[in-house]
Structure formats: C-alpha cells, structure tokens
C-alpha cells in the first residue's frame, strides 16, 4: 500500500500550493501516472478518499490520467508503445529501449478558486 505514501505526498503538495498562492479552494487535482509506474488506480483513489476525510481537501476531486509507455528502440530507432517492461521491439526484436514516457508520477493540473 505505498499508494498511501504517494497520496500523502500529493496532499502535502496541494497544501503547499494552496498556502503559497492563496487559493481559497482546490476543486480538482489531475495526477499523471505512467503506465509502468507501480501505482494501483483504485488504491490511490481509496487512499485519497480516506486521507482527505474531514480535511480542507475533502471535496477535492482526484483525477488520474494514465500515460502510455512510449519508447524508442535503441537499435533500430522505431518509436512504439510498450506493453510491459520486457516487451521486445516490434520492428527488430531488440530489448534495448529509451523510455520516453510511462514512468512519470506528477501533478499536471489543478482547478482552483482564486
């Protein structure tokens, strides 16, 4: 259940932003989660629901956007979406990739009341 730690980190960032920028409310927060990140969507939603209860973020909506795992084959240069961390290049069969996306875990958007 490391989703609880991740959720706490999200809430700490929200509290910091809210205080820094003087937002009166945060309506929603969008978190981009890479396809290969070890985050279970349902577990993060549950952690968010539990940890925000009776806090200033109780009504804040958590939106999770899954980012596909895009990679470039280091051998033939083919850009492609990978299904998992051990899938081979669809063009040349190599396992050597540079990951372009799919490992991120970031807050990409907030809807706030200023």
């Amino acid at each position: 259940m490391h989703e609880v730690s991740i959720c706490k980190a999200i809430l700490d960032l929200l509290a910091k932003k809210k205080a820094e920028k003087n937002y009166s409310k945060i309506y929603s927060v969008t978190v981009e989660v890479g396809e290969f990140q070890l985050v279970v969507k349902e577990a993060l939603s549950l952690a968010f629901e539990v940890l925000t209860k009776e806090t200033e973020f109780e009504k804040t909506k958590l939106v999770q956007k899954i980012v596909p795992a895009l990679a470039v084959c280091k051998d033939c240069g083919e850009k492609q979406e990978r299904q998992n961390l051990y899938s081979e290049c669809k063009k040349c069969g190599s396992f050597s990739f540079e990951m372009l996306s799919g490992m991120e875990l970031k807050i990409s958007k907030m809807e706030v009341e200023t």
């Binding site: 490391h2 730690s5 700490d12 960032l13 070890l38 961390l85 991120e104 970031k106 807050i107 809807e111």
Partner: protein
C-alpha cells in the same frame, strides 16, 4: 453555500456571486520531496567518498546473509556502515552487530519501503568517518522500494534460486531500476527447478545492461565475483569523485 462550486460566498443569493475558477498547469513530481532528500544524501555521500548501495529483494532471498558474509570477508579491509530496513524487530541488525557496531535498524511498521528521510536520520547514528561503503538493506519487497530513491549510487536486486526463474518478469520494476542482479543460494540448484539461463534471459529482456553475479554464501562459490565487483566499484567511485 453556492451549489455550483461549494464556495461560501454569502452574496451569491443576491446575484452578485462570481466564480474565479482557474486552471493551473503544473509539472510537479509527486515524489519531489523524497527525490530532493535523496539528492542531498547522494551529495553527502560523494563529498565523504562513501559508496552507497540499496539492496532490493523479496523477503528471504538472503540479503542479510550476504551482508554477513561481506562483513566477514571484507570487514578487515574496508569500513562498512549498514542500514537495515524491516517492518518489525531488530533481528537483522543484531545479526550484523556480530561483525560491526556500525549498524542502524529502521522499523517501518506498516510501511513497505525505506525513504530518503529515514536514511538521512539513520546517518545521525552511524560513524561516517572514513566510511567506504554504506549498504542499505531495504524492506523485503520487490515492488514499492524501487520507487523511492534513497541517494544510493546503485540499486542491487537479489533473487534466490528457490523463488523461481520467472520472477524477473513477474516483478520487472525492481530489475529495471537496478544495475546489478545477484542470483543467490546457488548451492540449492540441484534441488530446485530453476533454469539459470532462462532467468538471465528474462533479466536481460528488462535490463540488457544488467550485470549478473551467481553466488552461494554456503559454499562461497561465486563470492569472489561479488568481492571483485565491490572493490572495482569502490575504485571507480573514488576516482570519479
């Protein structure tokens, strides 16, 4: 209260309520707090010439036994510091204290991984003067620990032959993030259905550049490869910083 937005503007009923909704775009990393502390740790290690490794594996793969053997074999030549991560008990720290007093046990209780903050505090209780290696044994878990940087130079993943040769594909992230894979308990190979070649092929699918060492701390077969690897890493690290 406004039914549209939930805000508590008392004037909304008389028609002059305004919403100032704004969409803020961000690139904020969720684990930024941990990453920054990990970078502080890494900087400290570079300044002090301390080489730090973060050991990842399932429970029971032989991490502590490998550390015991390492202290026994190399303890006279290098100064080691050890951080032991477990949910409960200080059993592992007690085992290692037979070889050195420079050990800190962290109990994560319900936590499933170590983080950079915990390691930073552990440093307060270690003798860091002229330390060569800081070996951090993470909580036995192949999933979560790979997400949390501690400031280590490299991650080392350990897989014992009793766990099955297909484990790398079942838990690929730990193998993706690590730079050395140790296949342990090789003295048990005659008794288990573990195909070494298949396992190595699976590891290389996830991480083609992975270095691999096979060893047994019972028969000590392959242990010299581990010793040589550690010494080579230390030499490279010292020359680099």
């Amino acid at each position: 209260m406004c039914k549209t937005c939930g805000c508590e503007d008392k004037n909304f009923a008389v028609g002059n309520h305004e919403h100032h909704h704004e969409e803020i775009l961000s690139e904020e990393k969720v684990l930024d707090f941990n990453d920054k502390l990990a970078e502080e740790n890494a900087k400290f290690f570079r300044q002090k010439n301390i080489l730090c490794f973060n050991f990842l594996s399932s429970p029971g793969s032989g991490k502590t036994t490998l550390l015991e053997a390492t202290l026994r074999e190399l303890g006279n030549y290098f100064k080691f510091g050890l951080v032991e991560g477990d949910q409960q008990t200080d059993f592992d720290a007690q085992r290692l204290k037979k070889f050195t007093g420079n050990v800190v046990q962290i109990n994560t209780n319900k936590g499933c991984h170590l983080d950079a903050h915990q390691v930073q505090h552990a440093l307060d209780n270690l003798d860091l003067e002229n330390l060569d290696f800081l070996l951090v044994e993470n909580v036995g878990n192949l999933v979560c620990p790979s997400m949390f940087e501690l400031g280590e130079q490299k991650k080392i993943v350990i897989l014992s032959v009793t766990e099955g040769d297909d484990k790398p594909l079942k838990y690929p992230n730990a193998f993706f993030e690590s730079e050395l894979a140790i296949i342990s308990k090789t003295d048990l190979l005659p008794y288990v259905d573990f195909n070494v070649y298949k396992c190595i092929e699976f590891i290389k699918r996830i991480n083609p550049k992975m270095e691999i060492i096979l060893l047994s701390t019972k028969s000590m077969e392959g242990f010299d490869d581990w010793k040589d690897w550690l010494i080579e890493q230390k030499q490279n690290f010292t020359n680099k910083f």
